[in-house]
Symmetry: C2
Subunit: 397 residues, 2 copies
Amino acid sequence: MVTRVPVARPDAIRRHNLGLLLGQVHRHGELTRAELTQRLHLSRSTTGALVAELTERGLLDERVPSGGQRAGRPSHVVGPRRDGPYAVAVDVDITHITTAAVGIGGHVLARHVVTTADGPCRPEAAAAFVVQASEALSAQIDPGAWPVGMGVSVPGTVTRHTGMVEFAPNLNWRHESFGDMLSAVAPRGLPVTIGNDADLAVLAEHLRGNARDCTDVIYLMGRIGVGAGIIVDGRPLHGHEGHAGEVGHNVVDASGPLCHCGKRGCVETYIGDSALLTLAGREALPTPENVAAVFADAAAGDQRAAAAVRSVAAALGRTVASLVNVLDPQRVLLGGSLGGVLDFAKDDIAATLEAYSMSATRQSVHLEAPGLGDDSSLLGAAELAFADLLVDPVGSH
Amino acid sequence: MVTRVPVARPDAIRRHNLGLLLGQVHRHGELTRAELTQRLHLSRSTTGALVAELTERGLLDERVPSGGQRAGRPSHVVGPRRDGPYAVAVDVDITHITTAAVGIGGHVLARHVVTTADGPCRPEAAAAFVVQASEALSAQIDPGAWPVGMGVSVPGTVTRHTGMVEFAPNLNWRHESFGDMLSAVAPRGLPVTIGNDADLAVLAEHLRGNARDCTDVIYLMGRIGVGAGIIVDGRPLHGHEGHAGEVGHNVVDASGPLCHCGKRGCVETYIGDSALLTLAGREALPTPENVAAVFADAAAGDQRAAAAVRSVAAALGRTVASLVNVLDPQRVLLGGSLGGVLDFAKDDIAATLEAYSMSATRQSVHLEAPGLGDDSSLLGAAELAFADLLVDPVGSH
């Protein structure tokens, strides 16, 4: 018979410091003990004790760096470990569902993509795909690694505390309790947290992407739908019910093209993937591949494709201008297909941004592509899964 | 010869608590010692000492309440005093400049209004008006009262830390160092702080008006121009350079009416005072009186006036919808002339708000008039002047 000796509840300060130290490695990657000591304003011995505890608990690894022989005793390097904790991160998009194992530091250890070829799938089917994928992933990574939670990105409005997807028009989901569905089937009783794709994208870009040094940022995500993730004064703007950033159905012109939402002239009808394909004269499904083909053809000299991208760029500049006037950010990241528009037609975006924004608000704004490419939402979802562990590495598992 | 004995620098905690206590009275009005003790989580004796110090320094008054005889020893009531500190609050509007002495608690002790009959005046003239008015005010209030600062509301984009008015289109001011102008002539070397009218309005409404219990609020101010003051998660949304909320020149329809800014179809061309007058068929200057006449005539049954107000209401609902989609607030306050539109045509606003906002974001939003009426910006300006005093009542004067 094994006797379990009750462990005394560790003191709050130590647990807080364990979280800070783990968070430093999560944010900045491998760090020496000396760097950690300096960043945390702790004594060398306290840092040493914290590192020892995190190593013992299997959360971090400590090793003497190989290679470059420097004079004196080499400082140990503290970093993530292969058999450590990982997040099950999920990005539910219209045409495919990506599930990934993401380790401390935001490293994608393995990923699994399902293409939902016949159009968007129902939430029950999506949940089944995710469970299947997370089982497959666990076979691909170090057998000692263990999942700490599941974070899920959805292209729609989400009420985070209930896990309810209120409205995801391009998935055709309305008031779906996707969080509960996933919780019911998640392996090993993993806690599940759901967020909006653009909200999660800006979170990840602020942590480790192209908004690292910014306090006021907009991530405008354009795929089939369009949404914004917003950071104000260094903090996420969620809104009262967590539904902020729903810019895709703001009406640009009440006599504009009919939108699937029933209104006319929504932002999506000008800068969404379907608009781009229509402008390019293509009767193709708005898959990432078909959209990428328009950008490739535009770059190769196809006049109609080029004109389509430039038309989207002009409308995009105007959309950004309206957001800039309201929010006065220092940076706007253009993600999803909008990154392709930025690549090909930055000047066209800049021209309408200049024409449609107030001089005071446009002075300091910069347009950029996301630093994490197409993985912003996925890595933001991983952050949802890691959140509890980083607050209290001892208590949460 | 008077010998000044240097006073020992009071300790930080006491000063902090003095600020908190003064802030309680400022926010909630007269309070008993018992209420203050409870609210501040302090001992009775500490509260007593703080009250004694604030009374001694002439910042608050303590008295035994008259009237209602209750059993036992009556609790002293702590409140503002007539010969206490006051803010010089200034609201620069297009057609008039209001200067007021505002006491602790947000009470307007006296006010002085100058009508700038021949159209908006230059900043130098405005500064001269303000100085003249503040001298006149000091003669109208208790001779023992003393000003702690000057706070100024301007209908334009303001860079607060430089006191620069970047652009106030309806005053025709561009890049005017209005803060420096006022500082140079302000009586008794009063510190001057400038803010945007809508930003200050939402500040005051959040402190003591109709947004007291809200964490996420938009104050949409519509007079000749249109701007928004925004509170997100309980904190003002200023933006990176302090220019957030400039919604008046967001374009609703690129082929709409010509705006004085050079673009077509700006929000102001649909819901500003000039739009209302034009729709009502009146070739009158957009003064508050002429605008009020349209509302009065609409209420009295004038069909054309009523149709004009309802047309503005419909456009207003759409403008609010776009902001609601992006910010997901719990309340939207409609100030300036928009309050008159709300009075007469709330259903028309609600109808387009319903049609143009996402279901998730509109569920919880309520439309209301400002609780402080036309004084929101003025009282917000007073808060700018009081800010230092409330942080450290001992150090700032």
